[in-house]
């Protein structure tokens, strides 16, 4: 008899079909700022921008919603990128000296960025070192049919585009130039690597070739002759033409820039002007310089670097200079590259300057007086302060949405007339039906609200909690600005600020009631803030309460940080979320769980010591419960791991410094035969590392968890539910709490009705305690109604936004631990269904959420699923309440612990996780609800026929493209 009950589920074909309609796994789009960008390109014709990264990613952005992402097969740093203007093609150079041609696939089907060709400059026969053919600089001619590669050896090679065919006979070698150079300049020295190549703005046959040593040559490609020689003596960094072609500007390693007239004389000895803008003391190199003419007369010069070495050598600056006007844009992270957006008429008349920094993208409006910044509609620097937690709200009601947007607009009014200048392509995605809010909590005590409805994650509103506490760093800002000297004219730009004033301000947990606008934010020092959304400015005193979660438990002393000292007196708040209540947990350990019930005016919170319940309407505590096990000493020591993590972080930062020193070298020598041997040796040495570890085998102890394991009292989850705890006929408010040691506490609450709220206080009586036998941490608790559906959120039913839960059938409670899921009946608690994930798969639950999945074939058909991310980075979906496994997908690498820890799920079967400190990957488990870019770019590819010779694959792409054009 028993045998048949445990028979495995067969593969029912009908069920399989339903599953296909419900579930599908896709990684859809990446939000945020690319990690470690290394190259920038801009196509003024298509108005598209491309960013390459150190890991080999290529991202193309146009108008908001127009995005293409791809990745080089090799994980090498993208050192340079160039658009084939107007063609929707992109050329990238990696630090392994390979060139790659990318094409935006504009045909039907999914838009994408595909690699269509690659090239590596062959070494010259007879030369042992390949460094001579290492590409240092690329010039893609405006006509897009010729590519010029400057090399380390001082040669220039030419390639036919877009076929990437090397024009062998055309190559211009170092010696050829040397012949024209006057003897006295030569001094037996080589010219050094080619540092810059610039096409003449008027005559496409001519180009400037700048050598590292300082020599600049105007070279005629068709006649293969040197037209002019400019005998510079300073080490060259970059060159830039003035648009008439009569003068050009060069920048140098000593922090100077020079303008050179192009005259008819063969050689020019001296520049017409030579300036060291931040002299007279030694300055750092000016890495890049551009010269733009304006209608108003004075040219606009933009350059990066050049700061006085001693006093401001550590600043990351871009200087904008026009006659007497000069601004030194002072950024918080390294400048990677910049470009200007300008017209192609008589004058350049630059309208905007776009600067790519290591941690953010900044656009400056050059047409408005004062050169203000233009807010970016994408590439949001999520990590402007490190993300400590995230929280998603699906289906945000329009009313709350408008209020949050209004608060955000009040906070940072949009620029009056300037629109985002990079606006190529068309966003074809439909307006999202529902708005989604993503809330990120940060280390500096801020909560940022992001519009997560569509492809581009837009900042909506920023809430700061630091201003209600007394912190040491309060007054520094004012002093800093006063102390700043008049020269250089620094201007702080950008919002990346990795330094936290006080780690205790860090946000740990967030809860938001989307109908009432009540927000609860809890932090590292046990602070729980309850807030209300308000349209008015207000100055008020915050109610402060302290809850002792130890409950006179003896023998414990808290050795961790102090609680935050709140400011006294009224604090003024701009329109937005206004804190009205601060509950401080004692001991002030980090809050580990928080939940809010706006209809009952209750907030529940838990730490490693216990949990509390607070009536925020009456401002009175309802309950405090200690969950500490008597033998648990670790919990008392406070954040003990901080000692370790400090050591660790020191070690890591040293490692980072060392690493950056290595990669900071401008050019790494590439594989000559000898260096190949060295490389192989280095690899062997690296491999030897893990082998050594294996000598002492890793052992694992097999022992069941015991009650007195450390940190067993940590409260992991809290939930409110209107259900049957006392008996099967009367339901009422309940609160549930789950701990790290597998204990669940259920309280029956006595909540007075709305009218009597001020007369009676809320009561909480312990109804049940469940101790899970396997003692694994309880990660989630949810109550299911008579039909097995999760209970609706507060206010959802009373405002007719959700179907009333079934209160006739018997309710059940779903308890998810790190090892297994179980559904228990209510009010008599007995196990109904269960799934033992760890016993079966050997993986542990890290994140879990209930989601509803709607079928692609019918909007009516919908199933609830329990979505679970494990420590191995795979995602499982289980049916509810039967707890049968439905699908399993690999999602995150199991080594990516921070990615797994950062994952959040939406209610409709999507999710987000951090792929770097600054980027969220968005994925979809639902076959119906998918948020991915859908866009088009009108490209003009005149060389389609020649490309088709390249490969069959490209042919296919091209036919798609032509079809599209018809």
């Amino acid at each position: 008899m028993m045998k048949f009950r445990f028979r495995r589920q067969g593969n029912d074909p009908q069920r399989e079909r339903i599953k296909q309609d419900l579930f599908a796994f896709n990684k859809t789009v990446q939000h945020g700022f690319p990690n470690q960008p290394s190259a920038l390109a801009y196509d003024p014709k298509l108005r598209l921008m491309a960013i390459g990264t150190k890991s080999g990613a290529v991202k193309v952005y146009g108008a908001p919603g127009v995005e293409f992402t791809s990745h080089h097969k090799e994980t090498a740093t993208v050192t340079q990128m160039h658009f084939l203007l107007g063609q929707g093609r992109l050329l990238s150079l990696l630090d392994d000296n390979t060139l790659h041609l990318w094409e935006i696939n504009v045909g039907e089907g999914s838009p994408g960025l595909e690699e269509v060709g690659s090239f590596c400059l062959p070494g010259r026969p007879g030369f042992e070192s390949t460094s001579a053919t290492r590409v240092t600089v690329i010039l893609l001619k405006r006509s897009c049919d010729l590519l010029c590669l400057g090399t380390e050896g001082g040669g220039v090679h030419f390639l036919e585009m877009p076929t990437l065919t090397l024009l062998d006979t055309q190559a211009l070698v170092h010696d050829h130039i040397m012949q024209s150079v006057p003897e006295e300049y030569k001094c037996g020295k080589s010219l050094g690597p080619v540092e810059s190549l610039r096409e003449h703005p008027r005559c496409p046959n001519k180009m400037l070739i700048g050598y590292s040593r300082g020599l600049v040559v105007l070279w005629n490609y068709s006649s293969r002759k040197v037209e002019n020689l400019f005998l510079g003596n300073q080490q060259l960094e970059s060159l830039g033409w003035e648009r008439s072609g009569k003068t050009f500007v060069s920048s140098h390693s000593d922090g100077s820039y020079m303008t050179w007239p192009v005259s008819s004389a063969l050689s020019t000895q001296q520049p017409s002007t030579s300036v060291i803008p931040y002299g007279p003391f030694p300055c750092k190199a000016i890495n890049k310089i551009v010269w733009r003419t304006t209608e108003s007369g004075a040219p606009l010069v933009v350059f990066s670097g050049g700061m006085p070495r001693a006093s401001y050598g550590d600043r990351h600056c871009v200087t904008v200079l026009q006659e007497k006007m000069q601004v030194t844009l002072d950024f918080t992270s390294r400048v990677i590259d910049f470009f200007t957006i300008h017209c192609t008429d008589k004058f350049d008349n630059p309208s905007a300057l776009v600067v790519l920094l290591e941690e953010e993208l900044v656009a400056i409006d050059l047409q408005t007086v004062g050169w203000p910044t233009i807010p970016c509609p994408y590439l949001a620097p999520l990590h402007s302060s490190a993300i400590t937690c995230s929280y998603h709200i699906s289906n945000v009601p329009p009313k709350l949405w408008e209020r949050v947007v209004a608060a955000g607009l009040h906070q940072s009014p949009p620029p009056t007339h300037v629109r985002w200048p990079i606006n190529g392509g068309k966003d074809l995605a439909l307006e999202p039906k529902h708005n989604g809010l993503l809330l990120t909590g940060h280390e500096d005590g801020t909560v940022r609200f992001w519009d997560a409805s569509g492809v581009s994650l837009k900042p909506l509103y920023k809430l700061s909690t630091a201003n209600i506490f007394q912190t040491d760093c309060d007054h520094n800002d004012g002093l800093m600005q006063g102390a700043e000297e008049e020269w250089p004219p620094f201007r702080k730009v950008g919002c990346f600020d990795p330094y936290s004033d006080d780690p205790r301000l860090g946000i740990q947990k967030i809860g938001l009631c989307k109908y009432s606008g009540k927000l609860v934010v809890a932090g590292t020092a046990g602070q729980v803030l309850v807030m209300d959304l308000s349209e008015e400015m207000s100055a008020h005193v915050i109610n402060i309460a302290t809850i002792d979660l130890l409950q006179d438990r003896e023998g414990f002393t808290w050795k961790g940080h102090d609680r935050l000292a709140p400011k006294t007196g009224p604090i003024s708040f701009p329109p937005g979320f206004h804190p009205f209540l601060l509950v401080q947990c004692m001991p002030p350990a980090a809050v580990t769980a928080v939940t809010l019930h706006a209809e009952w005016n209750l907030v529940a919170f838990g730490t490693s010591h216990g949990f509390g319940l607070f009536d925020y309407h009456r401002r009175s505590p309802v309950l405090a419960r200690c969950t500490l096990h008597p033998n648990d000493s670790l919990a008392m020591e406070g954040p003990l791991s901080r000692v370790k993590s400090l050591k660790k972080s020191l070690r890591q930062s040293f490692r980072r410094i060392r690493k950056s020193r290595v990669s900071g070298k401008k050019r790494v020598v590439v594989s000559s035969p000898t260096s190949k041997v060295q490389e192989a040796n280095a690899q062997l040495a690296e491999q030897a590392g893990p082998h050594d570890v294996e000598v002492t085998p890793v052992q694992r102890r097999i022992e069941p968890r015991s009650a007195d394991d450390s940190l067993s009292g940590v409260v992991r989850c809290l939930c409110f539910a209107d259900t049957f705890l006392r008996d099967g006929t009367h339901h009422g408010p309940t609160m549930w709490a789950g701990t790290n040691s597998g204990s669940v506490y259920a309280y029956a609450l006595e909540v007075p009705s709305q009218e009597k709220f001020s007369e009676h206080s809320v009561e909480a009586v312990l109804g049940k305690e469940i101790q899970l036998m396997h003692r694994a941490p309880v990660v989630a608790i949810a109550v299911l109604d008579g039909r097995g559906n999760p209970l609706p959120e507060p206010y959802e039913v009373s405002r007719d936004l959700a179907k009333a839960p079934d209160m006739q059938g018997s309710h059940s409670v779903l308890i998810a631990s790190e090892e297994q899921f179980k559904v228990f009946t209510l009010p008599k608690v007995s196990a109904k269904t269960k799934f033992k994930l760890t016993a079966h798969e050997g993986c542990r639950v890290r994140k879990v959420a209930l989601a509803s999945f709607t079928s692609v074939s019918s909007e009516e058909y919908c199933e609830n699923g329990l979505v679970c991310l494990t420590n191995l980075g795979d995602i499982h979906v289980f049916s509810v309440p039967a707890l049968r496994p439905q699908v399993r997908y690999d999602c995150i690498r199991k080594e990516d612990i921070s990615g797994i820890a950062s994952c959040v799920f939406t209610k409709t079967g999507q999710g987000f996780y951090l792929i770097s400190p600054s980027e969220f990957e968005r994925f979809s488990l639902s076959a119906r609800v998918v948020t991915q870019p859908l866009c088009s770019v009108d490209v003009d590819r005149p060389h389609a026929s020649t490309v088709s010779q390249l490969s069959h694959y490209i042919c296919l792409v091209e036919t798609h493209g032509t079809k599209h054009q018809e």
């Binding site: 009950r5 097999i702 009676h760 396997h774 090892e819 798969e841 050997g842």
Partner: protein, 331 residues
């Protein structure tokens, strides 16, 4: 293959499915298991004590074996059967290859640690294609005085093939660790013992295929996995019934339902008194935690002892009793 073998050798199945039970005496702490050699364990029947561990339990043939054992260790003082507590058993002997051993460890309420460690290693297997080296998981250490050591059924360097019926091939050490910890209350490990000399030689098969040599001759990558289905039907299912005893504590101070808004009631003196005072003191439930939970833990462990099981009258007398997976908790 296995079915044919099973069908032909009926008597051998009976002998095999009978559980081999090293036991631990709770009465006077004499460890019979230690005395037993690995080849020949001590068997004491204790059918009354527990909910049945095997559907195929047979009592036949025991007296003979027991007599043989007693001849070896005559001076040992052995108590009454009901004083013994089962700590481990070899199961499914009939369906496993002779080179493998499936051991069940009964943790139950004992305060003894399971007491073993596992490690990564390389498993050498003989296949038709030749010798194959595969990653495997092995027992690396037995803790002195631990449950694993006292059974005498597990040894250092034994390769772990399955955990509670799940093949561990392709699983990492951490995964296997998690699986074992998750099953630690009723752990069934299938091992290929490093020492193959003590294998049970079955009568009918012994003539055809005697695997006296230490090297296993596996024709299939994992012979044990063939039996997963059968295994899942018997052992895992029955394992579920006596494991998973989540403890549910009903609080008896929970008031009966009252119309909402009406707070004060006589049933809960604490809450009625507290309602009067404006800044009400917090519910002092902390004391309840340690007290009631440890009390009930005691009652859980007492449930697991054989003496309590025989008297269901006490449990049924209370209205507050909870039944969960066979455990009755009285408050």
């Amino acid at each position: 293959m296995p079915m044919a073998a099973g069908g032909s050798g009926r008597p051998s199945i009976r002998a095999g499915s009978m559980e081999l039970l090293p036991t631990e005496m709770t009465a006077d702490k004499h460890r019979v298991g230690e005395a037993a050699s690995r080849r020949c364990c001590t068997y004491v029947d204790e059918a009354v004590v527990f909910a049945s561990n095997s559907l195929q339990r047979k009592k036949k043939g025991l007296p003979g074996l027991r007599a043989a054992q007693q001849k070896n260790k005559a001076p040992l003082l052995i108590g009454l059967p009901q004083d013994f507590r089962q700590i481990s058993s070899i199961i499914d002997v009939d369906i496993l290859p002779e080179t493998h051993r499936r051991v069940r460890l009964h943790k139950h309420g004992s305060d003894k640690p399971l007491g073993f460690y596992i490690r990564d290693g390389v498993s050498v297997r003989v296949t038709p294609q030749g010798v194959e080296k595969l990653p495997g998981v092995f027992i690396s250490r037995l803790v002195k005085g631990g449950l694993a050591e006292s059974t005498g059924l597990l040894g250092v360097n034994d390769e772990i093939l399955e955990v509670n019926g799940i093949d561990v091939a392709g699983k990492s050490l951490d995964q296997v660790t998690d699986m074992m910890v998750a099953n630690s209350h009723n752990l069934i490990v299938t091992v290929k013992p490093a020492n193959q000399r003590n294998n049970v030689v079955r009568g009918s098969k012994a003539s055809g295929n005697s695997s006296g040599s230490g090297l296993s001759q596996d024709s299939t990558p994992s012979p044990a996995s063939q039996y997963v289905n059968h295994y899942g039907n018997s052992s895992v299912a029955e394992g579920d019934s006596d494991e998973d005893g989540d403890l549910i504590i009903e609080s008896d101070n929970l008031p009966p339902y009252l119309p909402s808004g009406f707070v004060a009631n006589g049933d809960t003196p604490s809450s009625s008194a507290a309602a009067a005072a404006a800044p009400r003191p917090l519910a002092q439930s902390a004391s309840l935690h340690s007290g009631s939970l440890s009390d009930s833990k005691a009652s859980l462990s007492s449930l697991n002892t054989p003496t309590h099981n025989g008297s269901p009258s006490r449990a049924s007398s209370s209205q507050e009793s909870m039944r969960e997976d066979g455990n009755i908790i009285t408050l």
